[in-house]
Amino acid sequence: MSGLLAPEANLKFAASLALAFGGALLFAFPLLMTMEMWWLGHSMERSRLLVFLLAALPMLLGLSYYAGFEPAFRLIDEVLDALAAFAVGMVLAALALTVLGQLGPGMTVGEMVGKLTVCAIPASIGALVAGKAFGGEKGDAGRRQKAHMGFAGRLFVMAVGAIFLAFNVAPTEEMALIAYMMSPWHGLALMAASLLLLHGFLYTLGFPGQAERRGDRHPAHSFLTSSVPGYAIALAISLFCLWTFGRLEGTSLQEGAQMTVVLGFPAALGAATARLVI
């Protein structure tokens, strides 16, 4: 009981909540001020919005584990943190959209909830990334734990990084427009550039626990085991974003692929620099 009411732990959590609001605002404000986001809130097919929300939940859970400093995996803490981050995202989206005049009379509950959800998901990612100190007690033990992040963990962090950056541009018209204006050769060049940049960033920044081993690895090995899967994840996430936002509807296979490659560029940059934010 003492742990439950301990003023120190409560104060610490309040401070990390405030930090989480800051992070949510910083990550989500470009989206809160993008009209495509408000439109997606009601034009998005409800079943896709549901899939989108359900897919975001395990991601928030994983993020609360990898971004948090908790030394060991305590499911209840991770679940609470993920839920708290969702609450922060929803409250922030509600406040911001109200102030920006995007919520008001003449709208149905469904429309408002849709708008809030679409904006709350990126906001809660920002909340978790900023609120690294979520959950009270922490020490260096958490960092040590993360130093042994396995292959799956590295891929997960890259996926979150990819979403982090791709999300900022995914809802805009420009993704489709750029894809229409590019020739297939431009697309191939962009793929090569994305992959090379991804590899360059990964090799320079590295992952925790990778640094000491990097010396005795052949560059081709790390290219095949980190960069290529990382780019594959970036493309998969781009494809998922495009699908949920209904961008693939009535689009030819070639245009769809081109759009995926266009969105894959920011996604690859995000995957490569995930170490910086998480």
């Binding site: 742990g3 732990a9 609470l80 943190d81």
Partner: protein
């Protein structure tokens, strides 16, 4: 009734491992409630939502004199089950002995079961009657 999954934290944990503060439980609880509410609203719409095409009704809200003519404030309501984009609304004012005067406005977005407001300008006073309002068309978002 015997077992509730959302039980309070076990009290027998020692102070060193129990770092879950009360505020954390509250924040997490609020998050859970919000999540369930959102899932409920979206899930209901996904499963039993209305998918009928947009049905646009244009309604006159008020008329007032403005410099250079008259303003007719209108309300565009979509009673259908799908959103409509770029809804063009035309107002036609019949004038005895003359060509009717027309004005139009385009609404960027009218979501399903929602309404948006706007206005049409006329040179002649529409108070005399003979004003008809209609939606001309829309684009699927």
């Amino acid at each position: 009734m015997a077992r509730r999954p959302a039980a309070p934290p076990p009290r027998k944990q020692t102070a060193t491992t129990d770092t879950t503060s009360l505020l954390e439980w509250i924040a997490g609880g609020i998050g859970l409630l919000m999540l369930l509410a959102v899932l409920g609203v979206i899930g209901r719409e996904a499963l039993v939502g209305d998918t009928s095409p947009p049905a646009i009704v244009v309604e006159q809200v008020g008329t007032q004199a403005v410099p250079g003519g008259y303003l007719v404030r209108i309300k565009v309501a979509n009673t259908g089950g799908n959103s409509a984009a770029q809804v063009v609304v035309e107002g036609e004012l019949a004038r005895p002995g003359q060509e009717p005067e027309t004005s139009e406005a385009t609404f960027d977005y009218v979501p399903e079961r929602s309404s948006r407001e706007g206005g049409l300008f006329f040179r002649d006073d529409p108070a005399g009657g003979g004003l008809t309002l209609r939606a001309k068309g829309y684009v699927e978002p």
